[in-house]
Symmetry: C2
C-alpha cells in the first residue's frame, strides 16, 4: 500500500513556525507569497501566526479567549522570529505576550488570554444579518495585486468592494460568506485570519481606494474547539461596520457567524487612513 | 499673599505614579481605598494608571489611539511597580508594552498605540442612544461595599443595577450619564476609567449578582486633547451591551458620548462569569 502525503494547505504553510532549539519561547517563521498584501503580508495571517506560536508552546493552557495584535511596522518578505512568553498562569486562565521581530526590529506585538472553558448559562444577544445561502451569492474576483484574497472564496451579500465609479456610500457595512480556498476545516488560526478579512471601511464610505492599514486588532473567541470542529469547512457569514472616522483613524466592529447561527467570534479594529 | 494649594482630586491620587531614579521605564504607584472594588481596585482605575505611565514617559509621542489591558491576577492593597516600554517608534505612531507587577508577580499587562493626529474627512456612523438631560435623571446610590462607585455620579437612563427581586431581563443594555464625583475635567486617564464603568452585563440579564470580572479591556480613543478640553467636567453618556454569553465568558461593547453628540471613545471587553 502506497501512502500519499496530503499536500499542505497554503494557509498552514503561511502560519508554520519552527521551534528554536534551546530557546523555549522562540520560533522561526517566514512570509508566504500566497498571502501577500499590497505592503507585506495580509494582517489576518500575521495575527494567526502569533496565535499559533502560543498554540504550539509546550506550556500552553486551554483555548484562546481573546487576542489583541498591534501592527507596529511593515514586515518584509522573508524570515522572522516570533517570541511567545507566558506572563502569568492561573488555575484556569493564562496570559501571553508575543512579539514578531525581523532584523532586530519589532514589527508586531500581541497579547492573548487563554483558558479552560466550563459549561454555563448561554445566550447570544445579537442577531446574524439576513443573508441568502452562500451558494446563491456570486464569488467576488479581487484584482491580481491582492494575492491573499485568492486564498478565500468571498461572496458579498452587502457592501462589496466599490467599483471605480461607485461614489460615496451612506453606510460602511459589509456582509459576506467566506471560506478558505481551497476549503480547509476551521481552526483557531483560520478563524483569527477571517477576523481581518474585511477590506478598509473607508474604501466603501468614500467609494475609492486610499492608503489604510490596521493598527490594532482584537478578537474575542466565542467558539471552542468542539464548535469549530462542527463548522468543518463550511463558509462562515462575516459582517463588519465602522463606528467613527476622524483625524486619521477609524474603528470597526465585526462578527463571524457559523452553522446554525452560532456566533464564533466578535472582532474589533482600529485602522489608519489617509484621505 | 497666601497661596492655597488645590486639594488633589481622589482620581489623581489613585493614578499617581512616581518615576524611579535610574530606571527610565519604571514607576511606583499604590492602590487607593477610594477606588476599591469587591476584590482589588476598580479595573478602570488600573487601566487609567497603566495609560498614565505612558503619558508621563519622557519618550512618549502624541496622544493615545488604542489601549488593551489584560487583567491577569488580583492586585493586593498597597504598592506596585509599573513598567512602560516603547516597543517601536515610527514617524507618527508609537507602540507600548506595559506591565503592573506586585511582589514579583505580573497582575496586569497592557499594550497601547499612541500617535499624532491629522485633520481628515470625518463621520460618525453610529448614533447616541436617546436620553433625557442628565439633570432630569436621578443619581443611583450603590451599596457601600462598592467603594469606587462613590467617586462617580451615575444616572441610569436604562438598565440600572437590578434590584434583588428584579428577575431575568431580555436585554443587557445599560445607558447612563456619568461624571467624576466631585466633578473633574475630562482627560485621557479619566476617559479610560469611564470605559470600565459598566457593571457586569450578566447581573442585568440574570437579575442577580454573581462572580464576574473583566479579563481584557480595549479602548479606542476618538477624542483628541482639544475635544476632551471642550468636554470640561460635563457628564458623558455611556452605553454598553453584551453580545454573547457562554462557557464562562461574555463580551461587551460600549460607547462614551460627549457634548454635542461627539463620540469620545468606543470600548470592548471580555468578562469572566460563574453562574
Amino acid at each position: 500500500m502506497t501512502q500519499i502525503a496530503a499536500p499542505t494547505h497554503p494557509f498552514d504553510a503561511a502560519v508554520e513556525l519552527t521551534a528554536r532549539t534551546g530557546a523555549p519561547d522562540a520560533y522561526r517563521g517566514h512570509t508566504s507569497p500566497a498571502y501577500a498584501n499590497m505592503v507585506g503580508p495580509f494582517g489576518g495571517v500575521t495575527a494567526a501566526t502569533l496565535l499559533r506560536a502560543i498554540l504550539q508552546h509546550p506550556e500552553r493552557l486551554g483555548e484562546p479567549l481573546s487576542l489583541t495584535v498591534n501592527f507596529a511596522g511593515p514586515i518584509a518578505d522573508g524570515e522572522f522570529e516570533v517570541t511567545a512568553r507566558p506572563t502569568r498562569t492561573n488555575r484556569s486562565t493564562q496570559h501571553w505576550n508575543v512579539e514578531l521581530v525581523q532584523d532586530g526590529a519589532v514589527t508586531t506585538t500581541a497579547t492573548a488570554v487563554f483558558g479552560r472553558r466550563r459549561e454555563t448559562w448561554d445566550s447570544t444577544e445579537i442577531a446574524a444579518p439576513p443573508a441568502p445561502s452562500a451558494h446563491d451569492v456570486a464569488v467576488h474576483e479581487f484584482p491580481d495585486f491582492i494575492a491573499w484574497a485568492r486564498n478565500y472564496e468571498l461572496r458579498f451579500v452587502e457592501g462589496a468592494v466599490p467599483e471605480p465609479d461607485a461614489g460615496a456610500q451612506p453606510g460602511s457595512t459589509s456582509t459576506l460568506w467566506v471560506r478558505d480556498n481551497p476549503p480547509r476545516p476551521l481552526d483557531f488560526p483560520a478563524l483569527t485570519a477571517l477576523c481581518d478579512v474585511f477590506y478598509p471601511r473607508a474604501f466603501l464610505r468614500l467609494g475609492r481606494y486610499l492608503p489604510a492599514g490596521t493598527v490594532s486588532l482584537t478578537v474575542y473567541f466565542h467558539a471552542d474547539a468542539t464548535l469549530l470542529a462542527a463548522q468543518a469547512d463550511d463558509a462562515v457569514l462575516a459582517t463588519a461596520r465602522a463606528q467613527r472616522f476622524g483625524k486619521g483613524y477609524f474603528d470597526q466592529s465585526g462578527e463571524i457567524w457559523g452553522r446554525d447561527g452560532a456566533l464564533l467570534a466578535t472582532t474589533h479594529q482600529l485602522v489608519y487612513f489617509k484621505d
